[in-house]
Symmetry: C2
Subunit: 253 residues, 2 copies
């Protein structure tokens, strides 16, 4: 079965403009162009569009969708399983919102008390996800598409549980780093502990860890003002110190 633009648009519930745009940006090319110059889509494109719409529904931007789906490691069957997991996550968030609105109703009726913080339960999760997407972009600019495609795919799998774990890792990293800085030796046991915590933190963002990449990222913390500022905010010199500790940890120095 073949489809021209409007036929496929109607089938999928998108606009023909969307399909032309997707062709233009290379995310969904037609199977062929007929003698009149018309786009002709086939079964493969139907299935691909479905996947795109799932990613879109999950809030993934088109550039990232394209990266993921053009990666050699992309596997349609696995992607579907991931979509399912993400959709279940999304439903959890929606359940949070439903619970929130029900509590708010009870609160306005004077049945319960509700803090201002609770009033935004379920909305906040979104912001966290957006920040994580943004951070992924920073890494891309430094390390290229291949690494980041993988990390984005992994990123989308991060559960609430993982997120908590990451947050805790980060907190421990800061503590350990501050302590190690006081000791003053990037080779100390404490500093090496910090480097290890940093590695563990990274494994939540990187699908594959390598010492080279770790060392390179540490160098970036010192070379890039924004990262330096971030790490030095509590104690100037922290970015350099962490870079040194990581270089020792990874055997680059």
């Amino acid at each position: 079965m073949e489809y021209t633009v409007q036929k496929l648009a109607q089938l999928a519930g998108v606009s023909s403009r969307t399909l032309r745009y997707y062709d233009e940006i290379g995310i969904l090319k037609p199977a062929r162009i007929n003698s009149s110059g018309y786009r002709i889509y086939g079964q493969k494109e139907v299935d691909r569009l479905q996947q795109i719409l799932f990613y879109r529904e999950l809030g993934v931007n088109l550039e990232t969708i394209k990266d993921i789906m053009t990666s050699p490691s992309y596997d349609g069957a696995n992607a579907l399983k991931e979509h399912r997991e993400q959709l279940l996550e999304k439903r959890k968030q929606l359940d949070l919102l439903i619970s929130n609105v029900e509590k708010t109703i009870a609160s306005t009726e004077g049945r319960i008390d509700m803090s201002n913080k609770e009033k935004f339960e379920g909305f906040k999760k979104k912001m966290v996800e957006e920040n994580e997407q943004k951070y992924g972009k920073e890494i891309r600019e430094k390390y290229g598409e291949e690494t980041v495609n993988k990390s984005n795919a992994k990123l989308l799998n991060m559960s609430e549980e993982d997120y908590k774990a990451v947050t805790q890792l980060e907190a421990r990293l800061w503590e350990t780093l501050a302590e190690a800085f006081k000791i003053g030796d990037p080779a100390s046991e404490t500093a090496q502990k910090a480097a290890d915590l940093h590695k563990q933190w990274l494994t939540y963002y990187w699908a594959e860890y390598s010492k080279e990449a770790h060392a390179g990222l540490a160098q970036m913390y010192v070379d890039d003002e924004r990262f330096t500022a971030y790490y030095d905010k509590e104690q100037p010199g922290t970015a350099e110190f962490l870079r040194d500790a990581i270089h020792i940890y990874t055997g680059q120095k």
Copy 2:
């Protein structure tokens, strides 16, 4: 408890830019501006922001949110009840998508057959809603904010069931209209039946029906080329015929 921009932004999980933008477009004004020119938000604004975020979560554009919330008939407690209903609807749609992805997985594993149409179940609903929002805008341009605010509020309450009913009404309207046109008399029983069906169709979009508004809309069908084209697509002259039938129905002629 009072909040400056960042405090409220953090509480709610939005950006400070968002809050400034909301002030700028008049959707969420601060309680006051302090002597330094800083925006200061209070409890009322916290609650209002929560409502805005619920509407936003439900896909309502900011202009419409503003209209709804500034309408004299706006009632925060009722809005919360509506949010709840809409969120439950949204969950139904999400369940459709989850069901879809599960079926697609089963299909790729060869366990079931799945049509291309089924592959887009759950995505299509969205497009319908978007079209309805757009249509609401058409009416606004002709009838002003007051009527449309109410119709938008009603629009958001439209359930799947209502939607089906509307679709069926529309189908019957077209049938009856075609039949009445053949008879050729806008005063005929059939034509009056069509006008009545049209009224019933309208009650899904208008919170309040009036004969004047109905007659005015019918005139608009003839005056505005786009509506005329829509009604004349199967039989030229249909827009005028329907206008006449409605004028008789509403006693305007």
